[in-house]
């Protein structure tokens, strides 16, 4: 009798312990993600502050080297954004902050049109004007346009013309203020994120969506692997600065730092340590393509040798996407479905 009771207890334990584990792991994963994302947001705030300061310095005194300083600060801040771009929930949803940081894609070239309008206008460019000008004006792509667009920079209104400087410094100030708001929002979001179990699925889905966008829209489509079969660097992000692939590297780095640790915890709790290992190794495979793949996308699409390097990156990212979006998602029971990602 005692033996049977013990056997029953063992069975019940066997049945319940994975569930208990999974639940604990769910909480642990969210804690891990929370802290990681907080680190990423903090870094964005710091870099956005540097950008605002360097833009101000440059416009006050466009001394030799100061423009390069702004360009470097823009890149650092933009890469910091790329690392946390995976987060599509929580305070980044407020006031379309995500879109404000990066308006993309821009098939109608609204950024150039809005810049021409604002610069050509007589109204002073103030923080309030930026605030009301819409997402095409408010983020990194606008500053990239002012700093790197070839046609614009060959024209009479190129930096450091006063009016363009007004636009540059105010957009940089807006970015800084949005980064601060995002960080403060994330801190206030902490109890909700940690107490609401559904944010587990939300976070996994966010990672999956990021990988899918990386593979499809940031690589396959510009590489001409879909639809028209035409290579087109202009549909990638950051084409004006030639940093499209560097931003890809930063997004992968962000996923590796801020998303992977929580994913590993969850997979290990589900007894899928092998899969967690394979995903970790695949991240390394992807990252080994860099910095070799840091060349401008336009160059990589033109030169066959370079294109092969790009193909290799694409294959590695594609394999990573399969591991996470198919295998890990199934192991964790997370659905990113045809309808659930529709929004209607």
């Amino acid at each position: 009798m005692q033996g049977i009771t013990r056997l029953l207890c063992t069975s019940i334990l066997t049945l319940t312990s994975p569930l208990a584990w999974a639940s604990d792991a769910n909480i642990q994963a969210r804690q891990q993600w929370y802290e990681g994302i907080a680190t990423g947001y903090q870094s964005l705030t710091t870099e956005a502050g540097e950008l605002a300061e360097s833009a101000r310095d440059y416009c006050q005194n466009p001394a030799e080297g100061s423009r390069e300083h702004v360009e470097a600060a823009w890149l650092n801040a933009f890469l910091a954004w790329q690392k946390v771009r995976l987060v599509d929930f929580g305070p980044v949803e407020n006031n379309n902050l995500s879109w404000q940081f990066q308006f993309w894609p821009d098939p109608k070239n609204l950024i150039a049109r809005k810049a021409a309008y604002l610069i050509g206008n007589d109204e002073p460019i103030t923080p309030s004007v930026i605030n009301q000008s819409g997402v095409a004006v408010q983020g990194f792509p606008m500053i990239e346009y002012l700093l790197f667009d070839q046609e614009f920079n060959a024209g009479e209104t190129s930096l450091p013309v006063a009016r363009t400087c007004e636009l540059l410094t105010n957009v940089a100030g807006h970015l800084k203020s949005n980064s601060d708001a995002l960080m403060a929002g994330w801190q206030a979001f902490r109890p909700h994120y940690l107490e609401t179990e559904q944010y587990f699925d939300t976070t996994i889905r966010a990672g999956m969506a990021t990988l899918e966008i990386l593979e499809e829209r940031r690589l396959a489509q510009p590489m001409g692997l879909r639809g028209s079969n035409k290579r087109n660097p202009y549909i990638a992000d950051a084409w004006r600065s030639g940093k499209s692939l560097q931003t890809v590297a930063a997004t992968v780095d962000g996923l590796n730092r801020y998303f992977l640790p929580g994913l590993e915890i969850s997979l290990e709790a589900k007894g899928a340590s092998d899969l967690a290992d394979r995903i970790r190794k695949q991240f390394n495979e992807v990252q080994q393509n860099f910095p070799g793949a840091h060349l401008p996308l336009a160059t990589a699409l033109k030169e066959e040798d370079q294109f092969r390097a790009l193909q290799s990156l694409y294959v590695d990212i594609s394999q990573l996407t399969t591991l996470v979006n198919d295998q890990a998602a199934v192991a964790l029971g997370v659905v990113r479905g045809f309808n659930s990602s529709d929004g209607d």
């Binding site: 949803e93 379309n96 894609p105 997402v135 559904q198 979006n325 659905v335 990113r336 045809f338 309808n339």
Partner: protein, 364 residues
Amino acid sequence: MLLNRRALLKVSIAGGVAVGLTGCSLLPRKASVQPDGYAGAVGFPDGSFGVSAFNRNGRIVWQAPVDSRCHSGCNRPHQQETLFFERRPGWSFYVFDSTTGARKHHISAEPGEHFVGHGVFSTDGRRLYVTASRYDQGAGIIAVYDAEKGYRRTKTFDLAGIGPHELTLHPDGETLVIGLGGILTHPDYDRMKLNLDTMDPALVLMNRHSGKIVGRFRPPHHQQSARHVSVSGDGRVYVAYQHQGPLYETPPLLARLEEGTLREYRFDEDTRTALANYISSVVAHPENDLVAAASPIGGTAIIFRGKTGELVSRAHIADCAGIQTLAGGDFLVSSGRGKLIRLGAGKPARELADLSVHWDHHLV
């Protein structure tokens, strides 16, 4: 949102593939027009889109390609015509022969306008009413077409509001029941929501002849996007919201129109959580007092009693979205994972079919 191409690639739809009925030889009859046929918008393996119709034997009757993803559709009364509307921002709608799938008309949106995925016919099958948006002004409208004249545009009714979505016809045959989501979007900005702080959603009742708004009922919370609507056989009006606030808030998502106000249903906390602030379809059964709603984000379908709000069924169905009423009093729920599930009051959910397609939001 980006289509999950990876998932689509795994789907193996070939021409004439069978639905794969499980455990029964016939699908139930629908409790609506064209009761022996079903149709829905689908995604194909190569990333293209279509409309697919199947019969009660589970055989694909036809599949028609479309230029971009469609959302919902409607059958034309007294005629063998099935219409499908492109997903928001929709630049056209299609008119198919219900028996062959042959494309009879392809009607483009007027310049400066786009459709949003839904339309409904007058009971005589002559007038078609389509929800649409004049996007530069952000003005929600009802576009009226004359089906007998090759779907010529005849009228435009202003909704005095933003973001209309689903509409249906009240059993009085005169009143359009319209979900006005209140969310401003513009095709230049993808699907970005431009006015979450100032949304003004409503359930709108409109006379279908004059376009006069005869009722406008606002949800208690301005972020309750009143997107989907349904009317029971005896004229009770239901509305389903998509809450635009954070996930940790779980306000009511379903309401009925009663004595001039929207009376919300308050389900238990588990059910509210399971609905994940998002309802993709609400359908009142024409034969009884039951109402079904589906949430693909929560992977949950429910049935409740319209009069009392008593929850009589709740099922976990991954990516469920479409709902049809079945003759006899049950509901059929479709999912993006190819399932067709029969759901009724007080009985367990039963899987009727496992399809090799991703059905889109609404089953027609």
